[in-house]
Symmetry: C2
Subunit: 259 residues, 2 copies
C-alpha cells in the first residue's frame, strides 16, 4: 500500500488479501515523565484520531497481524503484546459509515457505499507495553500524524475506540496486580522512585514508598547496579535493572503480586 495504485487495489480487492469483517486494534502504552501515554493515529483530511489498527492477512495469525501493525507504527518488534478482548457489536463502526464521503476524500477516489470497508467489523483488541524512548511513531498511509497522547487527555476517537482504550486500561491495571508487566514500560536502567511512579500512575493511587520498595525487592526480580542517577541537590537514587531469568520465572508463576 505504498503507492496510489496499490491503494486502489486495496479498496477494490481488499478481501482478496485480508479477512473481511475482521480487524485488529492496538492500544500501545508508553510511560514518560511520570505520565502514561497511548499512541494515536490522526487521519488525513478528516483530522480525527483513532487507535492504530489494521486487517488480518489471509496467511497470518491474528497475533501476527497485531505484531505487524505494531512494528509499522513503532518500528519495534519483540515487545510485550497481549490480546485482551474482541469487540463484536454490530453497530460499533456505525460512525465509519457516516464518514463515507470523507473516506473517499482520504483515498482520493470514490468509494461506493457497498464497499467492503463499510461493512461490519469485528475487532480483536491488543495492548502493548513499549519503552517510550525507543519508539519513533510512524503514521500509516491514511494518517498524517502518529503521536503519543497523555492518557488523561485523550480526545474523542473514531468508532468505539474510546471504549477499547478504557477496557485496555482496565486490563493493564488488573494485570499489574498479578504480573510484573509494568517493567516493559521502563528503560533498561531505572530507579526505584521511577518504578514507584509508574505503579502509582497505572494504579491511580499513592503507594507507601517504603513498603513498595520492600515488596518489590522481595520478589528478587531486580538487579541492583553500581550506578546512581543524579537528580538534583539530594541523595542520588540507585539504578536497577531486571534479572531477566528471575523475571520470566516470575511471569510464569505469576507471583502473588502485588498490592
Amino acid at each position: 500500500m505504498d503507492n496510489k495504485l496499490e491503494m486502489i487495489d486495496f479498496i477494490e480487492e481488499g478481501p482478496k488479501w485480508f479477512l473481511p469483517n475482521l480487524s485488529v486494534d492496538c492500544v500501545i502504552f508508553g510511560f514518560h515523565k511520570n505520565q502514561l501515554k497511548v499512541l494515536l493515529n490522526r487521519w488525513k483530511k478528516v483530522e480525527g484520531w483513532c487507535l492504530p489498527g489494521g486487517y488480518v492477512m489471509r496467511d497470518e495469525s491474528v497475533d501476527e497481524s497485531a505484531k505487524r501493525i505494531l512494528k509499522e507504527r513503532t518500528g519495534l518488534s519483540k515487545i510485550y503484546l497481549q490480546q485482551f478482548y474482541t469487540f463484536g457489536e454490530p453497530d460499533r463502526v456505525k460512525s465509519l459509515a457516516m464518514e463515507r464521503d470523507q473516506f473517499s476524500q482520504i483515498f482520493e477516489k470514490e468509494i461506493k457505499p457497498d464497499n467492503w470497508m463499510f461493512d461490519r467489523m469485528v475487532s480483536v483488541g491488543y495492548f502493548a507495553l513499549v519503552e517510550y524512548s525507543k519508539v519513533k511513531p510512524k503514521p500509516d498511509t491514511l494518517s498524517d500524524k502518529c503521536e503519543w497522547c497523555d492518557i488523561t487527555a485523550v480526545p474523542q476517537l473514531f468508532f468505539d475506540h474510546n471504549q477499547i482504550l478504557q477496557r485496555a486500561l482496565k486490563e493493564l491495571r488488573f494485570q499489574t496486580f498479578h504480573h510484573p508487566i509494568g517493567f516493559n514500560l521502563l528503560p533498561e536502567k531505572f530507579t526505584l522512585p521511577e518504578l514507584l511512579g509508574l505503579y502509582e500512575t497505572i494504579l491511580g493511587r499513592k503507594l507507601d514508598r517504603r513498603n513498595f520498595q520492600k515488596k518489590i525487592l522481595s520478589f528478587n526480580i531486580l538487579k541492583k547496579l553500581d550506578e546512581r542517577r543524579n537528580i538534583g541537590p539530594h541523595r542520588a537514587p540507585t539504578l536497577y535493572s531486571f534479572d531477566k531469568q528471575q523475571y520470566s520465572k516470575a511471569m510464569k508463576e505469576g507471583l502473588s503480586f502485588m498490592f
Copy 2:
C-alpha cells in the same frame, strides 16, 4: 436450518446470513457429583466430538451469538457467560479441510472444496457456567449427541478444541481466585461441603475445610437457611443460598478473593 432445504441454502449461501471466517465456540461448564463437566457435541457419521459452536449472524453481536448457541444447546438463558480469548491461527481448522468428504456425508450433499465452510475461521471463545441439573442438552442438526463429559476424560476433539478447552479451564481457575463465579455452577440451595468440593475441583487441590468455611462466610454473600441436607449416618450439613444483592456487589468490587 431445520429441514434439508435450509441446510443446502446454508451451505451455498451461509455468508449471506453469517459473517464469513468468524465463529464462536462455547466451553459450557457444569458440576455434578463433585466432578467438573463440559458439554460436548458429537457429529453425525464422523462420530467425532467438539465444543458447541456456531456462526455470527450479520445483525447480532458476537455476545448474542454465544447466548443463542448456549440457549440452543442447553435450553437456558440468563446464565453466566464470558468471552475469554479469540483463536486466530491460520491453520487452526486444518483438520476441518481434511474431513471434507465426511462433511459431505453429514450434509448428505457434495460440498466443493472452495466452499466457504472450509475457509479459514477465526473463533471467539466463550465460557459459561451453568447449573448442571437445569440443562437438557440438545444436539444441533449436525450432531447426533450432546452430552456432559467429565473434564478429566475429554477425548480428542476436532480442530483446536482441546486447546480452547484448556485455555477456558485456566481462565476459570484464575477467575475463581478473584470473583465468586463458582456459585453459578451450583443449585439454588447447597451445603458448605458441596461448595468446598466445587472449589477443590476447580482449583485442583485440597483446601482446609474449616478455614474455607470461615473465609467464605466472612464475605457475607451467603444466606444460612433453616434447612439441612440428609446425607447419611452423620451430622446433616446446613443448606445455604446466596444473598444475590451482596453477591452482585461482590462481583463488581471483586473482593480480594480468595486462596
